[in-house]
Structure formats: structure tokens, C-alpha cells
């Protein structure tokens, strides 16, 4: 899906700002029609990577290839890489329809066709009747959809998204995730989605790229990243898991919270004694927090029925265990 005929290739791409190296020689391929999320903490280089793809930053080293063409020296306005900004960057001096038509106008599409295509996209995004509105007369969700329509109206083969949902209310985020995944499937184009939110990345992406300190820490399907984080950095960033000492010195294991069993009596095999700290309702289950040996924070996901029978109280002692094979051995840092 990704390697045979990729749409995008990063080969040893770096970006320096003076002495600071924002991106350190990354290699990455993105397939046609793939939904890739680039995820990492702030300052990890994910936005710089996206901006280099759009031509808004020039790589300091390495090559970026799109559709077989080296793009390093192609200016942003000659690329077909529309982007949705976190701030949306809608033009406040143009109305909704003029915003959507902008890209077509810049490409010299004539007025009647511009109008037709803009109206089609406005209708598709549920914005019919809003075409004459000013941007500041729209709600957050409506603006979001105008920004999507503006980027997609030129029928690009790839859409770049830079934390587009981080300014929205929580209930709108879930709805927009649905809108985005559906759009991506319907259009069959590549989405490159930058976010610091693992719930957004895991919910939507075919593949997740985890970045840290300008390097790619891991690339994989959401399940792989979650079940088998390569390094402690990835495991900590993904969260909802337990990082435990392994058998060999320096070795570390990770066990996802939903694979951890909580019991009042010591089970057979390996188990860790821990004191209950608190619980957190997490939709599909309840995450219980424990304090293990050496003050390590441990997590286990339980059902409501299990929680009731365990009747935990802060300070109460339990045993945490996992089935053989549920753990994953991480690479030494």
C-alpha cells in the first residue's frame, strides 16, 4: 500500500534554523489514498515536516519527492498541496463563496465553472445558503467546513491538515473526525494530518508516524503503535499503558492498560503488588490508577462490574497481572 508507488517520499530530509535542527534527516513514504497522521509533542518537528511538504519551508538537506518529482525548489504556489490551518486562515475580507473559489481563481478557472464547483462543494459540506455570509458570521464548525471546501475544491491528490480540530469544542471534534474520515474514503486522496492528539490520530489514520526531537520514533498502524511501542518515548507519549522493568538488565516491557488484570488475591505467575489511587471513567471502561513499587504509576482498565466487585479504596492493596504474551519488549533507550 505504501512502498510500491508512493505519492510522497522524504529521503534524509532535515531542516535547520540556525543552530537548531527542527527535523533531523527523516525518511518517510506516504502512499496514494493513505490517511497518515504525524503525531508528537510540541516542538517535535511535525509541523515543519508538513510545511516542507507544502513548500512553505525549504529543506536544509535531503529530497522531498511528490508523484516522482523532486519538489525541493518548487515554490508553494506551484504545488498541488492545499493545507488546512489550525487557525483555518480563511480570508476575512472575502465571503464564504469567494473563499472557496480562491484556489480556482488563482488557477485561472473561468467564472461560470468556478461558481459551479464552489456551489457543489458548499452543498457537499452542508453550507448551502451560506455562500454570501461573512466568515465572522459563521460558527466554528461551519468555518471548519469552509476551510475544507476551499482546500478540496481544486480536486487535489493530497490534503495537508495542521491540527485542524484543536480549536474546536470536544463534541465538534468527534463529529469532524467522522466528516474527515468519510471525505477521505469518498475522495480516495491522501490525507497528511498533523496532531498532538493521539485520540484523533488513532481514530482516523491508517498509519501513524510518531515524531520526537526532530526524528521519527516509530511508524505503524494505530494498533501496532499502541500494543507494541518501540521505545519508552513512544510508550509514554501514547499513554494508557504500563512501563515495567524486563528480565534482562536495562530491558523494559510495556503492557497496555486494557490487558492488565486486577485481582484482590495474588495470582500465579508474575504479578505486581500495588496500592489503589483513583479511578477515571473512560467511556468504554474505567481506568484504575495504582501506585506500584518505587512509586511507579500503574494503570489497568476494568469494567464497571469488575470495579464494583473489587470495591477499591485509596490505599487498598491489589495484584496486577497479565496473560503471557500480552507484554511487549521495548528497545533499550
Amino acid at each position: 500500500m505504501t512502498t510500491d508507488d508512493p505519492l510522497v517520499r522524504f529521503d534524509g530530509v532535515s531542516k535547520n534554523y540556525g543552530d537548531f535542527q527542527a527535523v533531523k534527516g527523516i525518511d518517510l513514504t506516504i502512499g496514494r489514498g493513505e490517511f497518515v497522521a504525524i503525531m508528537g509533542p510540541s516542538g517535535c518537528g511535525k509541523t515543519t515536516t508538513l510545511r516542507m511538504l507544502a513548500g512553505l519551508e525549504t529543506p536544509s538537506a535531503g529530497t522531498i519527492t511528490i508523484d516522482g518529482n523532486v519538489m525541493n525548489d518548487v515554490p508553494a504556489h506551484e504545488r498541488d498541496t492545499p493545507m488546512v490551518w489550525q487557525s483555518l486562515a480563511l480570508f476575512p475580507f472575502l465571503n464564504v463563496k469567494e473563499n472557496v473559489e480562491f484556489g480556482l481563481k488563482m488557477r485561472g478557472v473561468e467564472q461560470s465553472e468556478r461558481h459551479g464547483r464552489a456551489m457543489l462543494w458548499l452543498e457537499r459540506m452542508g453550507l448551502k445558503g451560506f455562500e454570501k455570509r461573512r466568515i465572522d458570521q459563521l460558527s466554528g464548525g461551519q468555518r471548519q467546513r469552509v476551510a475544507l471546501a476551499r482546500s478540496l475544491v481544486t480536486e487535489p491528490q493530497m490534503l495537508l491538515l495542521d491540527e485542524p480540530l484543536s480549536a474546536l469544542d470536544a463534541h465538534l471534534v468527534i463529529r469532524m473526525q467522522g466528516v474527515l474520515t468519510r471525505l477521505q474514503k469518498e475522495l480516495g486522496i491522501t490525507f497528511v494530518y498533523v496532531t498532538h492528539s493521539q485520540s484523533e490520530a488513532f481514530a482516523m489514520a491508517d498509519r501513524v508516524v510518531i515524531m520526537g526531537h526532530g526524528e521519527i520514533a516509530q511508524i505503524g498502524r494505530p494498533q501496532e503503535i499502541f500494543r507494541a511501542p518501540k521505545t519508552r518515548f513512544v510508550a509514554e507519549f501514547v499513554g494508557r499503558n504500563n512501563i515495567l522493568p524486563g528480565e534482562a538488565p536495562g530491558q523494559e516491557l510495556v503492557v497496555a492498560a486494557d490487558r492488565m488484570t486486577v485481582s484482590a488475591e495474588q495470582p500465579e505467575g508474575r504479578a505486581i503488588a500495588a496500592e489503589f489511587v483513583s479511578e477515571e471513567f473512560a467511556g468504554t471502561g474505567i481506568i484504575c490508577y495504582f501506585e506500584g513499587p518505587d512509586g511507579a504509576e500503574l494503570k489497568a482498565q476494568v469494567t464497571e462490574a469488575q470495579l464494583e466487585s473489587l470495591a477499591p479504596e485509596p490505599g487498598k492493596r491489589f495484584w496486577l497481572s497479565w496473560a503471557p504474551g500480552a507484554e511487549h519488549v521495548m528497545e533499550a533507550a
Partner: protein, 280 residues
């Protein structure tokens, strides 16, 4: 159920109201009233005659001066906006924050010295035997008559308004959301289209304000048309001076002044309309 409005906000507004009443509305009312007064034996007498209006607006020389002033102020506003724009653009987008701060400081420096002093300096520079003609003569050009001409007046207007126009334009350009400019590139706009379709519309209010300030200052200026423009043809401010000097005709000068204020109000309102317009 109506609450008694608190006097507090009104107390705070009082100084401004007193100031405006005493130094703006009062003199304005007095000036409008004076335009209907009578002058007899070089002395003004309160009256209500239309004679001053009749005489001033009925004379060709008033309208000559009026259109010269409007034309020059318009030209100065357009010229200043055009000359200032590349400088403002460079300051807003091409230089570092520190350089921009220093540049804005140096743009304020001209206001430290008297405008009149700067105009006298231009008299020396632009003179027939002055240094500019000297240099031009050296390469075989000139000498050009630059003083006592429309050109001289325009040099004076630019001296007066350019620093302010650059400051206003720079602020409005520097405050444009950079994402808008990147979004324009991203959507296929080349640098020129980005400038015309995004940067200028996004900075429209500041650009219009700069242009209007240039118009207002040039329209009312007396120094440049007098000392560099040679007062021929006279502008409205020169006309006011001439009128007051000849036979104490303050009422007729008041007519000119009222006409100037009306013109500036019309221009200012039109500009505000243009700046904030198309916002339905």
C-alpha cells in the same frame, strides 16, 4: 422598574466633553456664525447676511483655489501612499523585528524638528543655484526651476506626510495574519496575486487611513504651498490669509474655512465607508 442611571460614567466623560465643547464645537459654531457677519469700516458686526457666502462662492478665484487644493491634496495622498508602500512592505515583511523597531523610531524623529525648519531646508536644496541643481548641472542637466512651483509644493507635502504614512502602512501590514499570506500561496497565488488579492485587502483599513491622513494634512497645509509653491496659484489656506489681511475680512475667511471643514468631513466619511464598506 427602571434603575436610576449612575452618574459615574458621565463624570468620567466630562473632561472630554468640556474639551470638545470648548475647543471644537464652540469655535466651529462661532466660525459658522461669523460667516454671516457684516464688516463695516474694518470692524465686524454680528448680523445675518448672505453677502459673504455670495461673494466668495460666486467668485471664480475661490473655486480655482478650491480645485487646486483638492487636486494637490489628492495627488499628494496618492503619491505618498505609492511612495510609502514599498518601504512599508519591506519594513513589515523583509526585515527583523529589531530593524523594524529602529526604523519606526527614525520615522518619528522628523516630527522632533519643526516642519517650518524642514521646509526652509528644502528652499536651500531646491534653489536655482542649490546643491541639487549643482549636481544635475554636473551631469549636464538643468538648472531646473523647482521652487515656487507645484513640484516644490509637492516636495513639501511629502516631507510633511511621508513619515506618518509609512508608519500607518507598516503597522497595518505587519499586523496581517501571516497564515493568510501562506494560505494564498498554498492555494496557488503567485507573489503578485498574493499582494493584490490578499495583502492589500487585508491591510485595507490602514492603507486608507494613511491615504486620508495625507489628504487631510496636505489639504490644510499652508507652509508648503506658501514657501515652496510660491502661493501661485493660491490654495485655500493661502486664500484665508489673504482674505483676513485685506480689510479685516474675517467673515469671508470663515466662509473658506467652513468650506474646507465640510470638504474634509465628506472625504473622511467617504474613506470610512470605503475602509469598512462591503461588509454586509
Amino acid at each position: 422598574m427602571s434603575e436610576r442611571p449612575s452618574a459615574y460614567p458621565y463624570v468620567w466623560r466630562l473632561p472630554l466633553l468640556i474639551w470638545q465643547g470648548l475647543f471644537f464645537v464652540g469655535p466651529l459654531v462661532l466660525m459658522v456664525a461669523m460667516s454671516f457677519w457684516l464688516v463695516r469700516n474694518y470692524r465686524m458686526e454680528p448680523d445675518f447676511i448672505l453677502d459673504n457666502w455670495d461673494r466668495m462662492l460666486g467668485r471664480g478665484y475661490f473655486w480655482d483655489a478650491y480645485w487646486v487644493t483638492v487636486w494637490r491634496a489628492t495627488l499628494a495622498a496618492i503619491l505618498a501612499s505609492l511612495i510609502a508602500f514599498p518601504a512599508s512592505f519591506a519594513l513589515a515583511f523583509r526585515v527583523s523585528e529589531t530593524t523594524r523597531r529602529w526604523a519606526l523610531f527614525f520615522l518619528i524623529v522628523p516630527f522632533f524638528t519643526s516642519y517650518l525648519v524642514r521646509i526652509y531646508a528644502w528652499q536651500v536644496l531646491l534653489a536655482e543655484s542649490g546643491p541639487i541643481n549643482g549636481v544635475l548641472g554636473w551631469v549636464g542637466l538643468g538648472p531646473f526651476t523647482m521652487l515656487n512651483s507645484g513640484f516644490g509644493a509637492m516636495v513639501g507635502y511629502m516631507t510633511l506626510v511621508l513619515p506618518l504614512v509609512v508608519i500607518l502602512q507598516t503597522f497595518s501590514l505587519a499586523n496581517i495574519d501571516r497564515n493568510l499570506i501562506e494560505a494564498a500561496w498554498n492555494l496557488g497565488a503567485n507573489p503578485r496575486a498574493t499582494l493584490v488579492r490578499v495583502i492589500v485587502p487585508a491591510a485595507k483599513i490602514g492603507l486608507i487611513v494613511g491615504c486620508v491622513f495625507a489628504f487631510i494634512l496636505s489639504f490644510g497645509d499652508f507652509v508648503s504651498p506658501f514657501y515652496l509653491g510660491g502661493s501661485k496659484p493660491p490654495t485655500l489656506s493661502i486664500l484665508i490669509i489673504d482674505t483676513t489681511k485685506s480689510g479685516q475680512q474675517w467673515p469671508r475667511a470663515a466662509v473658506v474655512a467652513v468650506m474646507m471643514i465640510v470638504t474634509l468631513f465628506v472625504v473622511a466619511f467617504a474613506a470610512v465607508g470605503a475602509a469598512y464598506g462591503r461588509r454586509k
